[in-house]
């Protein structure tokens, strides 16, 4: 019970705080790097259709993983199962949040069917991530050409995501097929305990295990390249599509390369 309470109550906040702080530190690190030379790739969507075109390109890529679909279809099925599953879980989190807020402020305001929506979206998300991560893991372990690139941590990351999803999937099937407890759990979290935590979340070993692993995973992600959703912003918008004219970089930096030691960039003449 105590472990369940710790996991469900305090570690949930802790995981989110760690995620946020480490992500901010990482993003700030990239954001504070000096203005680089232009290195864009064409077509640059904003030159063709302004911001709407750029946003369209970005969301199409994010939501469909078009580039993998077109160029490596075999991988896309697994990668999309994983990422599509994540998108479903994010949507599920939003549905839970809406449900939780509604339960706190206006109980009974949402129709009964809403819970079915939560169950379907959450369940599909968990199935999708479980299948996707397992398939990717098997592929990485068996394909000689992929194995060249893998460090043990790459397997660990996939295995970790798989176990989190699997324990979630099992909790859904075995403990709470209608996924009522996550809605209550969210309501309790956002009200800082004003509403009670559901019993299964603090007492069922499988649910506690899932929640603990999920929290660990959330806190772990920003330390890994799984944080690429922030990196992708910079890689697309600040490099690949950055054509902002009229800027000059910091040519006052001092050089320590052997070739021109001690000079400043602005003094590079010959």
């Amino acid at each position: 019970m105590l472990i369940g309470l710790l996991v469900a109550k305090y570690f949930s906040y802790l995981a989110v705080v760690i995620f946020a702080i480490v992500s901010i530190i990482k993003v700030s690190r990239y954001a504070s790097m000096p203005l680089h030379l232009r290195w864009e790739l064409y077509p640059v969507p904003h030159e063709e259709g302004g911001l709407p075109k750029e946003l369209k390109e970005m969301f199409t890529e994010m939501l469909t993983m078009k580039r993998i679909f077109e160029n490596r279809r075999g991988l896309w099925y697994f990668a999309y199962a994983y990422h599509g599953g994540i998108y479903l879980i994010l949507l599920w989190a939003v549905l839970l949040l809406i449900g939780g807020v509604s339960d706190l402020l206006a109980p009974g305001a949402l129709p009964g069917g809403y819970q079915y929506l939560i169950a379907v979206v959450g369940g599909l998300g968990m199935i999708s991530i479980t299948v996707g991560t397992l398939a990717l893991l098997i592929q990485r372990l068996t394909d000689e050409e992929y194995k060249v690139y893998n460090a043990p941590v790459d397997y660990l990351n996939l295995l970790f995501a798989f176990i989190v999803a699997l324990t979630g999937l099992l909790s859904w099937i075995l403990v709470d097929p209608m996924l009522i407890s996550p809605r209550e759990y969210i309501a309790s979290l956002i009200s800082f305990g004003a509403s009670n935590l559901p019993a299964v979340v603090v007492s069922n070993p499988l649910v506690i295990l899932h929640l603990a692993l999920l929290e660990l995973f959330i806190a772990y992600v920003p330390f890994t390249r799984m944080l690429h959703f922030f990196g992708k912003y910079f890689m697309y918008h600040k490099i690949m599509w950055d054509t902002q004219p009229g800027l000059t970089g910091d040519i006052d930096y001092e050089i320590s390369w052997e070739q021109e030691k001690g000079k400043k960039w602005r003094d590079l003449y010959e």
Partner: protein, 529 residues
């Protein structure tokens, strides 16, 4: 097919034999190319003095005997500088992101013409050399790598074998960046190649002599990477004016060092020596269009080449500074880069953030200017003058990397009759195989690799574009508006004997425009040279 998979750790192991061997039966088949020269890398000739153990070819020719401890130390110093803002403000942000966020999904590998043409040798996969840098960076420069070791970095051992092979491997990619075009993350493994080359050049002094000693160093010292000094250049200008008269009977001036004009036109100096008809055609077009322009006879001012963009930011910066100084002195309104892809990217795109704000002058590609001139109706053009089959090679630097895609197509549609696209084209084009300096790097046995591997996809594309007319006794013209691409395509035509077999030749775009002028006798001469 030999699909031996090379691991990162293999590059650190001692060996007398190449890790990978290019074999004819492994190479990508090319339709219509029934016979081709046999492979003969002649490894025995080089193996005594140089490290040939990557793939049996030498682009740089790294000596075999090196003092290992010092080499490793210097490499690590360079690695640190690559990730420091003072030393690498130019590309630190992209490098850091691309190092951190490759998903290792290998989506990019099939986009690489070198990997495909080689018969899918995995050392040529775009992420392969990048993965070596990523592992070394994590191992030596990150706290997670120092704490958790190979569990997070993956296995890698930094020694002289790895450094020598990695140096060569950084010259097995043309930095065409086609791989980056399809990376779902937006990671650019071509940039990692670029950064590796910088590390080797700027810290260790390891670079192909054609790019450095005979390239940027000679250009800054003498005036041109061709070795041409200002006096020789002025002599060539006089020769070209006479040549125009001989060709078409007109007195056309090529203005030199005129101040206050609209355009300072800078060609790749290789044009003056190998293809003078191209700058001559510029002069005819400008004269007809009433353009106010000039050439510069100052050192560097008559050679748009900037090999720095491929291997060394310091040399890149020096040449950019020098060029803008000349343009400012001449007080021109715009700088126009001739038919040279890498120079277009260097000055039209990359230079901008190097040039101090008080020295900035707008830069354009000649293709944009020609397009404007033709659109304005100042030239009378008859497409039937160019009635032979023409295909267009898209220089990566012009198209994917500078966004100049349609002007050359509009021009071709107005001055030719049988223009056919290669496939794929535009921003998804394939490199000619001579990109990032390869076209001017014939040393050791590298030419064979350029012809057999990096240029193979282009040969396939050219033959395919002309497949319906290959058996017709008619000249087929590969229009390549880029000096380096032209050099590579010339070498490919020669190597595979495509002029004799199929009457395939090549040339620039300006020549086609002049050849379409109805009141001028034929400007093009169809002899393969």
């Amino acid at each position: 097919m030999n699909r031996k998979v090379v691991r990162i750790t293999d590059l650190s192991k001692p060996s007398d034999e190449p890790l990978v061997r290019i074999a004819q039966e492994d190479l990508m088949p090319v339709p219509h190319l029934e016979e081709e020269p046999e492979l003969n890398p002649n490894i025995e000739k080089y193996k005594e003095n140089y490290d040939v153990t990557l793939d049996g070819y030498l682009a740089i020719g790294v000596p075999k005997e090196v003092e290992e401890k010092a080499l490793v130390e210097r490499f690590l110093n360079g690695l640190r500088k690559l990730f420091s803002k003072n030393d690498n403000w130019t590309f630190l942000q992209p490098l850091a992101l691309y190092t951190d966020y490759c998903a290792k999904c290998r989506t990019c590998v099939d986009a690489c013409p070198i990997y495909i043409s080689s018969g899918r040798k995995n050392i040529y996969e775009p992420p392969f050399r990048a993965e070596i840098l990523r592992r070394l960076y994590r191992k030596y420069l990150t706290s997670s790598g120092k704490t958790f070791g190979s569990f997070v970095t993956g296995e890698v051992e930094l020694n002289a074998n790895l450094i020598r092979r990695l140096a060569e491997l950084s010259y097995r990619c043309t930095i065409c960046r086609r791989c980056a075009q399809i990376c779902p993350m937006g990671v650019d493994n071509g940039l990692i190649t670029h950064e590796l080359r910088k590390l080797f050049s700027q810290e260790l002094g390891i670079h192909p002599k054609e790019l450095h000693d005979k390239g940027t160093v000679q250009q800054l010292k003498v005036g041109s990477s061709t070795g041409m000094n200002p006096d020789a250049f002025k002599g060539l200008v006089s020769f070209m004016e006479e040549d125009i008269k001989d060709r078409i009977g007109l007195d056309v001036k090529m203005p030199l060092d005129e101040k206050g004009v609209d355009y300072l036109v800078i060609h790749n100096a290789g044009e003056f020596l190998s293809w003078p008809e191209n700058p001559e055609a510029f002069a005819v077009i400008f004269e007809r269009a009433g353009v106010s322009w000039t050439l510069s006879s100052e050192q560097v001012g008559y050679d748009a080449v900037n090999y720095g963009v491929w291997y060394n930011d310091l040399q890149l910066t020096k040449l950019i500074n020098r060029t803008f100084e000349i343009a400012n002195k001449l007080d021109v309104k715009e700088i126009i880069i001739g038919e040279c892809g890498h120079a277009t990217k260097a000055y039209y795109v990359v230079a901008e953030r190097i040039v101090p704000s008080d020295k900035k002058i707008p830069v354009k590609s000649c293709l944009q200017i020609f397009d404007e001139i033709i659109n304005s109706g100042k030239l009378d053009l008859d497409p039937s003058r160019n009635d032979f089959p023409i295909t267009l090679h898209d220089p990566c630097n012009m198209v994917r990397l500078s966004g100049i895609v349609e002007p050359q197509r509009r021009i071709l549609r107005k001055c030719t009759k049988d223009f056919r696209e290669m496939n794929p084209n535009k921003e998804m084009n394939y490199c000619c195989g001579g990109g990032s300096g390869f076209a001017i790097m014939p040393s050791y046995n590298f030419n064979e690799w350029k012809m057999k591997v990096s240029g193979r996809m282009k040969v396939k594309q050219i033959l395919s574009a002309f497949s319906d007319v290959l058996d017709r006794d008619v000249v087929k013209y590969v229009c390549a508006p880029c000096s380096n691409c032209k050099g590579q395509i010339r070498d490919l035509i020669r190597y595979y004997d495509l002029w004799k077999k199929y009457k395939i030749t090549y040339g620039g775009l300006a020549e086609l425009i002049v050849n379409a002028m109805p009141d001028i006798p034929g400007f093009l001469e169809f002899e393969f040279h």
